[in-house]
Symmetry: C2
Subunit: 224 residues, 2 copies
């Protein structure tokens, strides 16, 4: 198909397709006539992945290229390929330099090791975990600290189900796509459900009744 | 104690304390001499809650006042009080008007009802869930759709543990504080652990080996 048809099929505008071609995210089509290239279904699928990376995953073009380059390497094992996808969608945050952060970072690594998790020592999620551990300490939320094993076991059970779904896709490109979409949308999905489950747990554990409208602030003068 | 001592004890600057007094978030101290007020431990605790609401929960001053007003009402049952705290920290998003969103919103409500969850029909988390359901449909992530019951059951189990912790605090102010901190930090904590568990599940389900450094993009010219 021509680039116009590729645009129609994928829902991606022609200038964007040309940009992805220039940036090396999308492989070139087969050369046909002068200034014409022929695209196929692999390009439609790749565009879907690129949009998932950029729009849903919020990753940079450079990180997206890491993923598409990894996809195009036949020598990369599936686990390593998924690792590249994982690293691409992990939020990059400025590391804290404080001594407290370094301690929290090694506690995060210890926690993963204690569960027998096989994770890279430089996994961005360890940094993320260290950030949260610092906040938990700063605010002295002992309940969260004490519940770490529960959180970890729960995350492990959910991740197992999610990975089974990824592997069931078999095709490398579609596996990577599900890692991206599942990581981002799965997190939002779980967050919304957890809030709803909280409200229900509160109703069950603290007694019946529905929550009234948020209490309106009392008027304390006219300057508000 | 005087306002200077309250500032030292709470770590909140005096101008901020005065602002919270003016905005009605912090109850006034007992009047002593002219232009002097006496504060006590309840003020230290309340300041801690206010900072948790504003800094960790990222809520507006108006929403924080809904929470502190609810705290000060003796007639509000604990479940209703936690409901107010919940609503304050829930992200407010612009609702989508599309027909697709309305359908997703009622699917979200059906999902909660099917699990027997007692949630307010106007719970912001139902809007949040609808947003995710729309994205799942748009991107056609059937695995996430099919795994909804697993996500819901997992969220329910975690929420039950979290609520037990909240209730164990007994004191209303400290319960609300844990709802705020637990909602925000608990979400970040679970997200980080889920990513680590993914990496481990991939290693276990797809075979040994650690993930290599992200594959560096091949050089495609000098313009990069």
């Amino acid at each position: 198909m021509r680039i116009g048809e590729l645009s129609r099929r994928s829902g991606v505008a022609v200038p964007s397709i040309k940009y992805y071609l220039r940036e090396g995210l999308l492989p070139p089509g087969a050369a046909r006539a002068r200034n014409q290239a022929e695209y196929d279904e692999t390009h439609v699928r790749r565009l879907r992945l690129i949009r998932a990376l950029l729009d849903v995953g919020g990753v940079s073009v450079a990180a997206a290229r890491d993923v598409t380059d990894a996809l195009d390497r036949d020598d990369l094992a599936a686990h390593d390929l998924l690792g590249v996808a994982h690293h691409a969608v992990a939020p990059r945050r400025p590391h804290r330099d404080s001594g407290g952060w370094a301690v929290a970072r090694s506690r995060a690594a210890d926690l993963a090791a204690a569960r027998g998790w096989r994770v890279r020592p430089d996994a961005p999620a360890l940094d993320q975990l260290a950030d949260v551990l610092v906040a938990i300490d700063d605010l002295d939320v002992i309940e969260l600290r004490d519940s770490l094993p529960t959180y970890a076991a729960t995350a492990e059970a959910l991740a197992d189900v999610e990975l089974v779904n990824v592997i069931a896709r078999r095709d490398r490109e579609r596996m990577v796509e599900l890692v991206i979409l599942g990581t981002v949308l799965g997190e939002a999905l779980f967050a919304a459900l957890r809030l709803l489950a909280h409200e229900d747990a509160s109703a069950r554990q603290l007694g019946e009744g529905t929550t009234p409208e948020p209490v309106r602030a009392r008027v304390r003068g006219t300057a508000r």
